[in-house]
């Protein structure tokens, strides 16, 4: 279970998170929606401890990771897998070395790690790519490899940073399906951030909208669809007109 309470974070004069409260039950799929610059990425980076909060708490199964020492934090990170927006594959390594990276680091033999890597690649729908280099793969394939790497050490929590951004609609939906399959097969808790509403409805048990550093509404996909909140309504219908102003543009 992930519990976030009163999370605030500033970068210089720029206050990005202004007291975020959010709970994700174990086994749930939470999708955080919000516009560009709403602080989604900063939020997800706090969940895995890549950033430390200025104030507030991030509890992972009851442990507050914001106050942990480095060593304990690295221990708790083993519970996590994260898929990055651009996949963030290590471009100096082959595909299987990427997928098996955490296993190799924890002392598994190369041969065994490669077997696991190939199995995880199958799980994300890829075969015969294990000896390729990341630069030889298409964008969609790189995301799949990134996902295979994220699940290689059987994490309990999966984080997705804009999983469908930059993919065509069909590829994007295949990633959505993969995310759903991961949850069913591996029983993981997942948190995704996205501004792709189609994807959000497909993969979410619950949706939360982040606006100006706060969660303005949280609920099931149906509750979000039928929202009475003007901010949320404008965002999910994708309208330039409404209470959310587009910065720097005037007609």
């Amino acid at each position: 279970m992930i519990e976030i309470a009163g999370l605030t974070k500033s970068f210089g004069p720029n206050q990005v998170l202004r007291g975020v409260n959010l709970t994700v039950q174990a086994g749930d799929s939470m999708v955080v929606i919000g516009g560009s610059g709403s602080g989604k990425s900063v939020l997800i980076k706090h969940i895995i401890g890549l950033l430390r909060p200025d104030a507030g708490m991030v509890l992972i199964d009851g442990t507050d990771i914001s106050t942990l020492k480095d060593k304990e934090l690295y221990e708790i990170r083993r519970k996590f897998g994260m898929l990055f927006q651009g996949a963030a594959l290590f471009d100096s390594m082959s595909v299987w070395e990427n997928v098996g990276f955490a296993l190799l680091r924890s002392g598994m033999r190369e041969r065994e790690a490669k077997v696991v890597a190939i199995e995880k690649l199958r799980l994300v729908g890829l075969k015969d790519v294990e000896d390729k280099m990341p630069s030889e793969l298409s964008g969609g394939m790189r995301k799949r490899v990134g996902l295979a790497r994220a699940i290689a050490h059987n994490p309990e929590i999966l984080l997705y940073d804009e999983p469908t951004t930059g993919l065509d609609p069909i590829l994007a939906d295949s990633i959505n399906e993969l995310i759903i399959r991961m949850r069913e097969k591996m029983k993981v808790t997942s948190v995704a951030i996205t501004h792709d509403m189609h994807s959000a409805y497909r993969i979410a048990d619950r949706i939360a909208m982040l606006f100006e550093g706060r969660i303005v509404q949280e609920g099931t996909p149906d509750e979000i669809k039928n929202t009475s909140n003007d901010l949320v309504k404008q965002f999910i219908t994708g309208s330039a007109q409404g209470p959310i102003k587009v910065e720097g543009i005037s007609f």
Partner: protein, 257 residues
């Protein structure tokens, strides 16, 4: 006046901040160096990149430096009839000064730039974040091996440069100017002390460590996409060069009393 003071203050604050961050990175590198697990495989890979692959450039640099030193000495010292000193001049210049400094500059230009560009690209494509999510400490995995390799490979490269530089001087003095081969070696060895060589190697190790730390720092804290990587790389080379040239004076003053 106000603007001048403002700019001065901001520069000072930035300088202090960067110095502090470099010291902290240095501290983290040393801690990770001492704590197991050790990055042996990775360190060898980096030693290959930084050391072995720099050998050709370092050798060409050294041989021509030795050659030009001999050429200048023979032609210049002729004015007061001291051209027989060429062996000493080449040997002392190479071991005390040219060997470490020029090898340092070569390593900064080759390996330092590569470190900054590689780490910078890893930063902007979130590969460094990815390392952390896979429970691997980026400093331990990326910076410590580069630092250790540079620290040990620089003296190794330098001793090669020293030797090859002296040989280059020999070629010019003996083959081109017809000086006695015995005289060249006699002058070279007799006036050379062991301390000239090892103090030069201490300099080299310092330059190696400094280049690695500065370049990794620049790469590690890159921001702003492709342009940022370019800036980080340029910055790494410029700061490395400055660090080598400025610290060289103080190291010389301290080591060669």
């Amino acid at each position: 006046m106000y603007n001048f003071l403002l700019a001065l203050g901001q520069t000072l604050i930035r300088f202090t901040k960067i110095t502090g961050e470099i010291v902290l990175l240095m501290w983290a590198v040393l801690r990770e160096f001492l704590l197991p697990p050790y990055e042996i495989k990775n360190t060898f890979k980096q030693a290959m990149e930084i050391g072995i692959k720099s050998v050709p450039v370092a050798l060409v640099t050294a041989v021509f430096t030795g050659m030009v030193l001999a050429l200048q000495t023979v032609t210049g010292f002729k004015r007061f009839g001291a051209e027989s000193l060429v062996g000493s001049v080449v040997a002392l210049s190479m071991t005390r000064e040219m060997g470490p400094v020029l090898t340092g500059l070569v390593v900064a230009g080759r390996a330092g730039a590569a470190m900054a560009a590689e780490l910078g690209t890893m930063r902007v494509t979130e590969q460094i974040d990815a390392l952390e999510t896979l429970a691997v400490k980026p400093v331990k995995y990326l910076v410590t091996p580069r630092f250790t390799s540079a620290l040990f490979m620089m003296p190794a490269l330098t001793i090669l440069s020293d030797f090859v530089g002296i040989l280059g001087g020999y070629a010019v003095a003996v083959w081109l100017f017809g000086m006695s081969s015995v005289l060249y070696w006699h002058r070279a060895w007799d006036n050379l002390e062991l301390s000239d060589i090892y103090n030069g190697l201490i300099k080299a190790a310092f330059f190696g460590g400094a280049v690695a730390i500065v370049s990794c720092y620049k790469g590690f804290y890159t921001e702003g996409g492709a342009e940022g990587v370019g800036k980080a790389t340029t910055g790494a080379v410029v700061i490395s060069f400055m660090t080598i040239l400025i610290s060289d004076y103080f190291l010389t003053a301290w080591l060669f009393k």
